[in-house]
Every structure is written in structure tokens, then in C-alpha cells.
């Protein structure tokens, strides 16, 4: 029978893993919807406005699912892990509050946005402005939550003198370096993931279209949407790559044990290599198929092969993160590498061989990689969270200490994931019904 700590971790991990999918759509869809609505208004193109309206219906429905998992996470933070708030509530309370304010703005304006579609009393520009408020609310909410996570990774904004908090600076905690680094790295990642997935759905439609129908107006619209979404994805992918480099340098300087675990770098050394493949043998070695790129880790950590990168040996054994995060990192990097080929390839083909874009085999390939972004986001957060272990608040409070001492979480730890699974299935079915209903409409955009 698993112990209570494992059950609590399972519950938190499942909740976050489930919730993040809806978060990334909840953050990206408002941008895409506003963008297409704006294009519709400026070009006086009702089709583009209809696309925005259709996406907004799906967005509102996904928020329903996201809100309930978000509610459960908010409850868990205080009920399952009260130690975190007991320890740092005085410092980190502000972003928690800010998050609820931002979320209220998002929720109210989302409701208003949906309610005022095609209302004569609301001008198109005012309606578009409501959408803008949704973007502001959701992005501010994401920042607040990310800043709490950043603070857990690198607690700042206080001094501990004689066992008591002194010199508390809540703004410094809220706008800390890890908060900014994580936020600006995760946001483009969310945009890539959701943008690519939606593009994949349109590619799937084109894949299923009969050859003689491919020039029909509804498929021309699909091609237009794919083109625009791919531009969005490409820009975000570049931003994500730039912020990934900054994140690597941040880890080398401020969370060296996490970087060492990600790269299975046991010794502190210059000219540290980047390890690809392999797993830890548990004795300071690497087993399984792998190869090293000499000096690459030093280069990534501080732009110079001669730079010293801290190894795992500097961290006591009982304070080291689980080393299987190296495998998660390898999987993530493999998926990113594939995307780094696929996305430019699309633009090359579009420029020089546009007819090939209708090739069934290429479309099938694209559909197959379209969910990679979702997997990358999940893996990224797993690395961040598991890589902080055994700490809940790094350097101050372990996960074991942060957990509730008064209640056994085991039952709920396995009950809620079942609820999430059913909720996920119903959500997918609901999206399917909406898509089919739109496709069946004569004036629909599918």
C-alpha cells in the first residue's frame, strides 16, 4: 500500500498534469480568438469572425473543465500542503491574492465576451476589447501562479533572523528572477503547444478531405488558418528557444543540482559535456546507450567551454533530485528537435513546393507531431517539480514536512485522478460534438 506522501504527490502531480493542458489552451485560445476577430473586423470578413466565434465556444467549454481542476489545486495547496503556506505565507501571500483578482477579471470578461457575441448593442471593437481583458486576466493569473512556483524554487524576499522572518519584501518575492525566467519560458511553450495542436486538427481535416474537394472554399479557409497558426507557432518557438537558453544559464547559477541531475553531471568540472541518452546506474555512473558532446554543457551554462559547471557531488545524497529526470529531459529534447525540423520545413515547402503541403503523407506526419508541444509542456513541468525534490520550498522545507499531518490523503489521492479521467473523456466528447455540429452547418466554418 503506498504511503500518504506518495499518494499526496500522486494527487498533486495528476492535478497539475491534468490542469496544465486546460491552462495552455486557456492562455492561447484568447490570443488566437482575438487575433482572428481583429482580422475579421479589419478585413470585414465574416468568415474569420465566425472562426473566432467557433474557437471561443470551445475556449469557454475548456475553461469549465480547467476551472474545476484549478479549484481543486487551490484547495490542495492549502489542505494537503499547509506547510508551504505556514512557512512562507507572509512572503508569498500577495501573488496568491493577485491570482484570484486576475482570475476574477478573466472569468467575468470571458462570460461577458461569450454573452455579447453578435449583439447589436455592443460594437465589434468593444466586443474585441472584452476579449483583450480575457487575455490580460489569464496572463496575469498565470504570472501570479508561476511566481509562486518560482519562489518555491528560489525563495527570496525575506531574511530569517533568530528563526523569525525579517525584512519581508513581498514585491521582491513576487517579481523574483526565477518567476520572470519561468514565466517568459513557459508562456511561449504554451502558445507553441496549443497552436500546434490546433493546426494539427486542421491538418487532420485536410488529410481526410477528398482530392476533388480540396479547392472548395471551406478548405481554402483551412489552409489560411494553418498558414496563420504556423506563423504564430514559429514565432513562439523562436522565443521559447531564446528563453530556454536563459533558463539553462539561470539553472547553472541558481539551481545547479537540478541542472546536474538533468544532465547526470556528477563532478564539478570545466569543459562539462552534454549527455544524450543513458540512465544513472545509481553509483555515479551512466549505463545504457549514450554519447557525450564535449564542452556543450559548459557552453550552454555560461557561453564558454572553460566555464565550471557544478556537479551532483556538491549536493548531499539525500538532497539530490531523482535522477530519472535526465530521461524526461532527453525525451523533451528529442521532441523539441523534431519540432525544430518540422516547423521550418513547413515554411520551406510553402515557399518552394506549396503543392507538397497537400501531400497526404506529409499531412499525416504533421498530424502525428502536432501533440508534441503538449508533451513538451508536461515534461517541462515534471522536470521543474521533480527536479526540486526533496524540497517543497528549496533549502528550507522538504515535501515531507510540508504535507498535512492531520489527515491521510491516500483515498483522495486515487479518487480524484479517476474523476479527472472521466472529466477528460467527457470534455473530449463535448469538443467532438461541437466540431461535428459546426461541420454539419451549411454556413459553418468547418
Amino acid at each position: 500500500m503506498p504511503d500518504s506522501l506518495t499518494a499526496a504527490r500522486v494527487l498533486m502531480g495528476d492535478s497539475l498534469g491534468f490542469h496544465i493542458i486546460f491552462v495552455l489552451f486557456g492562455l492561447t485560445l484568447p490570443i488566437l480568438v482575438s487575433w482572428f476577430e481583429w482580422m475579421g473586423i479589419r478585413r470585414k470578413d465574416e468568415k474569420l469572425t465566425a472562426v473566432a466565434k467557433f474557437w471561443s465556444k470551445i475556449m469557454a467549454m475548456l475553461v469549465i473543465t480547467g476551472v474545476i481542476s484549478g479549484t481543486i489545486i487551490a484547495l490542495q495547496m492549502s489542505l494537503v500542503w499547509p506547510g508551504i503556506l505556514k512557512f512562507g505565507g507572509e512572503v508569498i501571500g500577495l501573488p496568491f491574492m493577485f491570482e484570484t483578482y486576475a482570475f476574477l477579471v478573466e472569468a467575468v470578461f470571458l462570460a461577458l465576451y461569450m454573452f455579447t457575441w453578435n449583439r447589436k448593442s455592443v460594437s465589434p471593437y468593444l466586443h474585441w476589447f472584452f476579449g483583450l481583458m480575457v487575455i490580460i486576466g489569464s496572463t496575469a493569473s498565470a504570472y501570479a501562479i508561476t511566481s509562486i512556483n518560482g519562489w518555491m524554487n528560489l525563495p527570496t524576499g525575506f531574511d530569517i533572523i533568530d528563526g523569525k522572518f525579517e525584512n519581508i519584501d513581498v514585491l521582491s518575492a513576487m517579481f523574483s528572477l526565477p518567476a520572470l525566467v519561468t514565466f517568459f519560458h513557459s508562456m511561449p511553450g504554451y502558445y507553441v503547444a496549443a497552436g500546434l495542436f490546433i493546426t494539427g486538427l486542421y491538418a487532420f481535416r485536410l488529410l481526410r478531405a477528398r482530392k476533388r474537394d480540396i479547392d472548395a472554399s471551406r478548405y481554402r479557409l483551412d489552409y489560411f488558418i494553418v498558414q496563420r497558426l504556423m506563423v504564430f507557432v514559429a514565432i513562439c518557438l523562436v522565443l521559447s528557444a531564446i528563453t530556454a537558453d536563459i533558463t539553462g544559464k539561470y539553472l547553472a547559477q541558481h539551481e545547479p543540482e537540478k541542472l546536474a541531475a538533468l544532465e547526470l553531471n556528477y563532478e564539478t568540472r570545466t569543459n562539462a559535456p552534454l549527455l544524450v541518452g543513458g540512465v544513472s546506474d545509481g553509483k555515479g555512473g551512466v549505463i545504457g546507450p549514450h554519447f557525450e558532446i564535449p564542452g556543450a554543457l559548459s557552453l550552454l551554462a555560461c557561453n564558454s567551454p572553460s566555464c565550471t559547471v557544478e556537479g551532483l557531488s556538491e549536493t548531499p545524497l539525500n538532497k539530490q533530485p531523482p535522477l530519472y529526470i535526465h530521461t524526461l529531459f532527453d525525451i523533451k529534447m528529442t521532441l523539441i528537435t523534431i519540432l525544430a525540423v518540422v516547423v521550418p520545413l513547413y515554411f520551406i515547402l510553402r515557399r518552394w513546393q506549396p503543392k507538397l503541403l497537400a501531400n497526404k503523407l506529409l499531412l499525416l506526419g504533421f498530424v502525428c507531431v502536432s501533440w508534441f508541444g503538449l508533451a513538451i509542456v508536461e515534461l517541462g513541468w515534471m522536470m521543474t517539480e521533480i527536479g526540486r525534490q526533496p524540497w517543497a520550498v528549496r533549502g528550507y522545507l522538504t515535501t515531507q514536512e510540508a504535507m498535512t499531518k492531520t489527515h491521510d490523503i491516500t483515498t483522495f489521492g486515487y479518487l480524484f485522478p479517476l474523476g479527472y479521467l472521466i472529466l477528460f473523456i467527457v470534455t473530449v466528447l463535448a469538443v467532438r460534438v461541437m466540431v461535428r455540429a459546426e461541420a454539419a452547418k451549411k454556413e459553418g466554418v468547418l
Binding site: I64, G93, L104, V108
Partner: protein, 170 residues
């Protein structure tokens, strides 16, 4: 301290009103399932949930020093209420988005009763938390009040007109 309690009880009071209205609608629609989403709140769903989160977060952030005692007092009813809210979400999506036949079934009854169960459990949560607050007199993080309170009124001012428009439409 009065402001601390205002920050907690104002959003909870708003939530209770909105949620009771949703509970009433969930039972009222059992008589006329063909009316679809028109018989139930639609776009306001997220707002209601947010008010709950708002109240709970206020409670916990203001009393972080005593969070062990508070979370211990409200642990079970809160988790059970959260379970009921998950059931409600599943039923909501199934009834209004997935199901094609407009006919009252056990899912509609489960939807209605999930409201009732969640509402009752949340009342228990509020009573237990209030009992603790008014008997143990825990020390509040009053340093947050100057930031939280203007924030609350600002956000309510921004959201008030949209909220009134939305709820009046039902």
C-alpha cells in the same frame, strides 16, 4: 480585523447567493429538459467558482500562521465538496454538450443533487472555519490588508457591471 473578515465573507456571501441560484435552476430544469442551456446558467459558471476560490484563498492567506488548524478543521468537508463539484462538472458537460436526447435521466438528477451536496458541504466548511475564527481568535496577516482591500474594490468595480448584466440576463 473587520476588514480581514470582510475580505473572507464578502466573496463567500456572493458565492452562496450565486450557487443557491444555480442549485435552484438545476432542480427547476428537471421539469423541462428540452429547454437545454437556456434553463441553466451558462457563461456565469466560471464567475461562481472564482468567488469560491476567492473566499477560500482569502481565508488561508490571511491566517497562514494557523493554517494547520484551519485546514484540519475544514479538510474533509472541503474535499468532499470538491468531489461533488467534479461530479457536477462532468454532468454539466455531458448534459449540455454531449447528450443529444433532451430527456430527463439519472444524470440530470445527479447533476441537481451534486449541487445540493456541494452546497451543504460548503456550508459545513464555512461554519467550521467561522467557528474556529471566532473561538480561537487567530492572528491575521494584517500586512496584506492595505494591498488586498483596494484590490478587492477595484476588481469588484471592474467586474460589477458585467456581472449584473450577466446575471440579469437569466
Amino acid at each position: 480585523m473587520v476588514w480581514a473578515y470582510t475580505l473572507i465573507y464578502l466573496p463567500i456571501l456572493l458565492f452562496v447567493v450565486a450557487f443557491l441560484y444555480e442549485t435552484y435552476l438545476s432542480f427547476a430544469r428537471l421539469k423541462n429538459p428540452k429547454a437545454g442551456r437556456g434553463q441553466y446558467v451558462d457563461a456565469t459558471w466560471e464567475v461562481t467558482h472564482t468567488l469560491l476560490i476567492f473566499g477560500v484563498v482569502m481565508l488561508l492567506m490571511l491566517f497562514t500562521k494557523n493554517i494547520d488548524d484551519i485546514s484540519s478543521a475544514i479538510f474533509l468537508p472541503t474535499f468532499l465538496a470538491a468531489s461533488a463539484l467534479v461530479v457536477r462538472s462532468i454532468c454539466y458537460l455531458f448534459i449540455f454538450f454531449v447528450r443529444k436526447k433532451a430527456k430527463t435521466s439519472w444524470v440530470d438528477w445527479m447533476f441537481a443533487f451534486s449541487h445540493l451536496v456541494a452546497a451543504l458541504l460548503l456550508v459545513v466548511v464555512v461554519v467550521k472555519a467561522s467557528w474556529y475564527l471566532f473561538t480561537a481568535y487567530p492572528e491575521a496577516n494584517l500586512q496584506f490588508i492595505p494591498a488586498f482591500l483596494p484590490g478587492l474594490f477595484l476588481v469588484l468595480a471592474v467586474c460589477a457591471i458585467p456581472m449584473i448584466v450577466l446575471y440579469r440576463s437569466k
